[in-house]
């Protein structure tokens, strides 16, 4: 089944070249986060960050089904993968993580607020569901400008219980705004299992409460996510309104740095690690381990260069501390 899809995709829409790029981007994201984790423990990065290791498949398949820089991105706190898949520059991203003046936000934002406004990437989000009301405004703006853009609004399972989720989906629906609501259901909101946080089987069932199409797909199946987002984007671009996509995936690491993970079992984590989106897609592409290792090394190399770039970049000057508060 997946195999069939693969053929079709690899053959048609989805050239093998592109497929290999997705593998490379996933490897880059994972290396970036493994490196970030290490730098954090070495004290080279501070604050907090949310690793998406295990969820990389969603990021690369989603971005590849859209038009990054043309479309808008409202990213989530666990958004390193989406940032890179949207075409983010590794050096300036690393510089932002290390709080340097050369970072995307001049070191003022960090992991939780990294944005690339020129690329219509309107930033990661520190507030759960905080980007959802904003998606309504971006949607209105697109309608007013009469373009064929769409908004990709990303959030987690936990965000689906915020009031902002409700108000935003309803408004987007009644005004037929071109928004793709991408819910990354990784089974937990920090320590809160989605099974305890709601009384329904699939978060996508909530789309019906707004008269909006909603589907749930395997977030670690790149081709399936790709096709679903394609469908959603066509729907939204054609003026039919918003589309809700729930992807089921899993984060291998803790929620953030302070997480002892007492709320889940090693076995559960292990089970999900066998569904590694990278390994899975490599298999689909018939990519061997040495080939993969090659690519992994290339990714690591890029990361090291980015670290060099960031470390050789200046810190913000304290005399500029008030820069950017007001226009």
């Amino acid at each position: 089944m997946v195999q069939a899809k693969t053929e079709k995709l690899i053959g048609g829409i989805f050239a093998r070249e592109k497929a290999l790029q997705l593998i490379d981007t996933m490897l880059l994201v994972r290396s970036f986060e493994e490196n970030a984790e290490e730098m954090y423990s070495l004290g080279k990065i501070h604050g907090t960050m949310h690793l998406s290791i295990g969820q990389e498949g969603v990021a690369v398949s989603t971005a590849s089904a859209l038009r990054p820089k043309h479309d808008y991105l409202l990213n989530v706190h666990r958004g390193h993968g989406h940032f890179l898949a949207w075409g983010g520059d590794l050096n300036r991203m690393m510089a932002e993580f290390m709080g340097r003046e050369t970072g995307y936000c001049r070191g003022r934002g960090g992991s939780m607020h990294i944005a690339d406004v020129e690329a219509n990437n309107l930033g990661a989000q520190g507030i759960v569901a905080g980007n959802m009301p904003i998606s309504v405004g971006v949607g209105l703006s697109i309608k007013a400008h009469k373009t064929d853009q769409v908004v990709l609004c990303i959030f987690g399972d936990g965000a689906s219980n915020e009031g902002a989720f409700h108000e935003s989906l309803n408004m987007a629906s009644i005004w037929k705004l071109p928004v793709i609501y991408l819910c990354e259901n990784n089974a937990y909101a920090m320590s809160m299992s989605i099974k305890k946080a709601t009384n329904i089987r699939h978060i996508s069932q909530r789309a019906a409460a707004y008269g909006m199409p909603g589907v749930t797909v395997d977030g670690n199946d790149i081709l399936q996510v790709y096709e679903t987002i394609k469908t959603a984007a066509e729907y939204a671009r054609s003026g039919k309104g918003p589309y809700f996509v729930e992807v089921e995936t899993y984060r291998w690491k803790g929620h953030s740095k302070s997480d002892k993970q007492a709320y889940r079992t090693r076995d559960e984590i292990k089970a999900w690690m066998t569904k590694d989106p990278i390994a899975r897609f490599a298999k689909v592409l018939g990519l061997g381990e040495e080939d993969l290792e090659q690519r992994r090394l290339l990714a690591r190399e890029k990361i090291n260069q980015a670290v060099e770039y960031a470390e050789s970049s200046p810190e913000p000057d304290v005399k500029d501390i008030l820069d950017g508060v007001y226009a």
Partner: protein, 328 residues
């Protein structure tokens, strides 16, 4: 000059802006055919249609977010909170998103939006529909806070706010909507961050905002008969605050009375008092700085209690007299 009510002046400003600039739109509850709870947007939907005069479901966070998202992508939205109290439901979008976005993004985004609040007591609307919450926003860097006290200021400040590239909290007062005053017909702006000396006098400096400016003027008329001359200054913009004219005035009068309707404790008056107390005017003060403000209570329903819950003309008269006669 041609006279308009405060509500008409606001409407005219919105109309002129929308005629000139397609990026401007208005969004809020019942602002379309209903014309807004206080009639401020009456008729605008006939001219601009439902795409630019957007009636929303009852979703205040959504309204604020609609403004934020539209503003950061090139529009100039004007949002309305039907009663200022309801802004409590939009604080996340206004203070964590709109106010901080530009800074968090390293100065690379602008959020040119206005959120209009219908504030204040005096209509019998009781505790949940009579709030004066401007002090909250004054504590939030990234926002500007504008609070017009006359029809002329309402129009000029709204147009200035619209073309300021920062999010502006625009605080109106229900009792002022029907107040008439001269309003130039042409397009004009009143720069944000400029205090306005409404009346000159030598005995006492009165800093008043919103509806209290009107009351201070009536008090000044009464006191003038006794030979007491009030100098009334309306900051008009609370953030940024143009303190210099107040400093100069206090150096002249040696006395300062601050009047606002909002609750005194934690209210904006404290900021004015503090800035004067740490300014060069401090050495010229020959009486303690006094604040006349809302009592420490929610706004009551009973008409008489409601009247006594906030500063009225006679309170300003009495307090001014005491200050000038050296009672403190």
């Amino acid at each position: 000059m041609r006279e308009l009510t405060y509500a008409e002046a606001l409407r005219e400003a919105m109309r002129m802006a929308m005629e000139k600039d397609p990026s401007v739109f208005v969004i809020g509850e019942d602002i379309g055919v209903y014309g807004g709870a206080f009639g401020v947007t009456a008729g605008l939907i006939d001219q601009f249609g439902p795409e630019r005069i957007i009636d929303t479901p009852i979703s205040e966070a959504g309204i604020a977010g609609a403004c934020v998202g539209a503003a950061v992508t090139g529009m100039r939205p004007i949002g309305e909170m039907q009663f200022s109290d309801f802004v409590v439901l939009a604080m996340e979008q206004l203070t964590l998103q709109a106010a901080k976005m530009r800074f968090m993004f390293g100065g690379k985004a602008t959020v040119p939006m206005i959120m209009r609040l219908a504030g204040g007591s005096g209509t019998g609307a009781a505790a949940q529909h009579s709030g004066s919450l401007e002090a909250w926003f004054v504590n939030i860097p990234g926002l500007k806070v504008v609070i017009p006290s006359s029809p002329q200021d309402a129009k000029g400040l709204l147009l200035a706010s619209l073309y300021d590239d920062n999010p502006v909290i625009f605080v109106e007062h229900k009792l002022l909507y029907k107040v008439r005053g001269p309003v130039p017909e042409e397009w004009y702006t009143i720069p944000l961050g400029q205090s306005h000396t409404v009346r000159e006098g030598k005995h006492l400096t009165v800093v008043a905002t919103s509806v209290e400016v009107m009351r201070a003027q009536q008090a000044a008329d009464a006191l003038a008969k006794e030979g007491i001359e009030l100098e009334i200054i309306d900051p008009r913009t609370l953030r940024p605050l143009d303190i210099d004219p107040i400093v100069r005035s206090v150096k002249k009068t040696g006395k300062l009375l601050i009047v606002h309707e909002a609750v005194k404790m934690g209210g904006f008056g404290g900021e004015v008092a503090a800035q004067i107390a740490e300014s060069e005017a401090f050495d010229y003060l020959d009486a303690p700085i006094r604040r006349l403000a809302g009592l420490d209570m929610p706004i009551p329903y009973n008409r008489n209690l409601e009247y006594h819950a906030v500063p009225q003309v006679e309170n300003i008269v009495e307090e001014s007299r005491k200050l000038v006669e050296g009672a403190y």
